[in-house]
């Protein structure tokens, strides 16, 4: 699915486009930039000039409606990068284009206007104003825009309900739990109706249970709202769960960028591989990303034709399909036992093994029980109920074993 999305994106214009972005922290950014461009490493530059290389030659295209996850460990520059989108941090060099507009050319008041309407932001430690009530916090973006109090409260109230905090309107942020506070942060971000949502480690400060609850809520909201979300995290599981596209940052350099499956199955280097190693693949990968597409599809009316079709393939079983879709598996052994005289008979259900099909977009985790119940490879069905490929025990075992190398081989053959 993610692959398809990537394909679709090719035809769209990116909403956010970052080109050759550099950020150097220090007094003499421009001079040090030359050295960075000459290819000196972060450590070299720090030792020689005392400047810190924050970001180096970042190129990103973020498409409307996607959740774009930027992932990296602390110090990798991910929080620095997201602050360039709304120019909370000024780049040393490079271009930032949002919706076709070069953000770098905006004047102070244009920039303020841009921040008010184009983007909103959710912060790691919530960034709520302790002296304002929940409802006033949610309406803050509107207040800055100059919206009247009554309208502000009305709109804020809707978002308060959407994030499930009804009845908390007049509480102060410090009276709320961490999860509730971040819901307020999310509602504040949604309240301005901005197209782009920047989320800086938004769920990192929450405990695991609340975090996964919030992730669900975000996914649910995104299905309705279709915002463009830039999400920063250091947690790969979170990245895989939320991201349509994932970019991995290391020491200010973009190491790899792609769909979650690509990152998981084709890590670009040792760094990404080390990251990917601990991921629970059963929960991160969908069936269609690991299935074998070569199958024997038997679409015949009669047993005789089925035998002929089976002979042509190298498999000793076939998936029987008719106009109603997938019916079951027929094996070589069953066909061998059928008398030649019966070859003109139609295939009836008594000949079929009743093996359930699995959906292509299901997580591997969810198909494990069916896998254990059936020896034969399971057919993988697409949204229309057609058989697209199969998933065998050995494939699944290979993917779930923690060797990234085997994963790489597998996806190459797939």
């Amino acid at each position: 699915m993610s692959n398809n999305k990537q394909q679709n994106n090719k035809n769209k214009t990116p909403l956010i486009r970052i080109k050759n972005l550099y950020k150097i922290f220090g007094d003499n950014e421009k001079k040090v930039l030359e050295k960075v461009k000459a290819g000196q490493s972060k450590d070299q530059i720090l030792a020689e000039t005392g400047h810190t290389l924050g970001l180096s030659d970042i190129n990103l295209d973020i498409y409307p409606g996607e959740i774009f996850v930027i992932m990296g460990l602390s110090g990798s520059g991910k929080s620095t990068l997201i602050r360039h989108f709304n120019r909370l941090i000024e780049p040393t060099a490079g271009a930032i284009e949002i919706d076709g507009q070069d953000v770098m050319t905006l004047s102070t008041s244009e920039l303020q206007n841009f921040r008010r309407h184009k983007m909103s932001m959710v912060f790691q430690r919530f960034g709520l104003m302790p002296h304002r009530t929940v409802i006033e916090n949610i309406g803050y973006g509107l207040q800055v825009q100059g919206v009247k109090k009554s309208e502000r409260h009305e709109r804020a109230d809707q978002w308060l309900k959407t994030v499930g905090l009804e009845g908390y309107a007049n509480q102060f942020p410090n009276q709320l739990s961490g999860g509730q506070q971040q819901r307020v942060g999310l509602a504040r971000a949604l309240c301005t109706d901005a197209d782009i949502l920047l989320m800086d480690e938004a769920f990192s400060a929450l405990d695991p249970l609340i975090r996964s609850e919030m992730q669900d809520q975000l996914i649910g909201l995104q299905e309705k709202l279709h915002k463009t979300i830039v999400f920063i995290t250091h947690d790969l599981d979170e990245a895989l769960r939320l991201g349509d596209t994932i970019a991995i940052l290391r020491d200010g350099i973009l190491v790899q960028q792609g769909a979650p499956v690509d990152i998981l199955l084709n890590p670009a280097d040792d760094y990404v591989e080390a990251f990917v190693k601990d991921v629970n693949r059963a929960r991160a990968l969908t069936v269609e990303t690991v299935m074998q597409p070569q199958i024997c599809r038997i679409a015949s009316e009669t047993i005789g034709e089925a035998v002929a079709q089976m002979r042509q393939s190298k498999h000793d079983y076939g998936y029987v399909v008719n106009d109603d879709g997938y019916q079951g598996i027929i094996t070589q052994d069953t066909l061998d036992n059928v008398e030649q005289s019966d070859y003109s008979n139609a295939i009836d259900s008594s000949l079929l093994e009743d093996v359930p099909g699995v959906q292509g977009d299901a997580l591997l985790e969810t198909v494990i029980p069916e896998m254990l119940d059936n020896v034969l490879p399971l057919p993988v069905l697409n949204e229309d109920g057609e058989v697209e490929g199969n998933l065998s025990r050995s494939t699944l075992a290979e993917i779930l074993s923690d060797q990234a190398k085997s994963g790489t081989n597998n996806s190459n053959s797939a």
Partner: protein, 296 residues
């Protein structure tokens, strides 16, 4: 220079040179005060009018009304009956021991000085918080204002404006304005970076950030600064009385010169009572603003 070795003696300007320096500076200042004294006095005239009006107002208001108003302030700031009754009781006792008029005079000058200190101090504190350069320039000036003996800066003030209320107020302000400046600066600098960043990210301009985020969040610290300013203003009452400011300081000064122990003690206690009352009221107000952040 003399022929003595600089190894055994501190190198020193000789007397004539020192005298010349003093003469030049004194002369220059004297002619400056002759030249501009009237203009500067005229500049302070509105302030003097206000001071006299405020003092008259306090003196002409019936004593029970003054006590009622003060008690109401105490209650509004603290929501504590104990403090409210304490305030009413202390003021009644002050009046009972015959110090009512002087206390009103002192209170008027303290309140006006504090008000002016806040009006002057807040913008300076804000400017300091915004710019490290301003901070590095203002901090040593504040250090001088707080450590320079009051008498030293009283001299030029008196030379320029004579004795009376205005030089008194100026002396009190010089001594008492540093805390409100320092704590405004500190309070704004301590505002959570992420909260301020959030305001910026939602497109707040610098005024919206200042009045919507920085000042409200710095308020507990600013209130602590105002509290200190009031305390220091009260500490200056006796010194101010030396340049003709009427109030509780004058009887104290009289007691020192004539060794009237009881008179000194009573007036001293009245100053202490004022200090404690103002301190408790402003502190409990600060505490309540802080508590509203914690949602209590």
């Amino acid at each position: 220079m003399s022929e003595k070795s600089w190894l055994t003696e501190v190198p020193q300007l000789d007397r004539h040179q020192l005298l010349d320096i003093r003469k030049t500076l004194d002369g220059a200042y004297r002619s400056f005060s002759r030249e501009y004294g009237d203009t500067i006095e005229a500049f302070f005239d509105p302030l003097l009018t206000f001071l006299i009006w405020f003092e008259k107002l306090l003196l002409s208001t019936p004593w029970w009304l003054v006590i009622a108003v003060l008690a109401a302030f105490a209650y509004l700031a603290s929501r504590s009956w104990k403090l409210t009754l304490g305030v009413a009781g202390s003021f009644f006792l002050i009046g009972y021991f015959g110090m009512w008029d002087n206390t009103m005079r002192t209170m008027s000058i303290i309140l006006v000085s504090t008000l002016l200190s806040v009006i002057i101090g807040l913008p300076i504190g804000i400017a300091m918080a915004r710019s490290n350069r301003v901070q590095s320039f203002v901090t040593p000036v504040l250090d001088i204002m707080q450590t320079m003996p009051a008498f030293v800066y009283l001299i030029p003030v008196v030379m320029l404006l004579g004795i009376g209320k205005i030089p008194g107020v100026i002396a009190v302000i010089i001594y008492s304005v540093p805390p409100v400046i320092r704590l405004t600066n500190l309070g704004i600098r301590l505002v959570d970076k992420e909260v301020l960043e959030a305001a910026t990210a939602y497109g707040a301009n610098s005024m919206q950030r200042l009045f919507g985020v920085q000042l409200p969040l710095a308020m507990p610290n600013i209130m602590a600064g105002i509290n200190q300013t009031i305390m220091m203003a009260l500490a200056m009452v006796v010194i101010a009385s030396m340049i003709g400011v009427k109030g509780l300081g004058q009887p104290v000064l009289k007691s020192i010169t004539n060794q009237y122990f009881t008179l000194g003690l009573l007036n001293g206690l009245a100053i202490v009572a004022l200090a404690i009352i103002f301190d408790r009221i402003s502190q409990s107000y600060a505490k309540r603003t802080l508590q509203s952040f914690e949602g209590k």
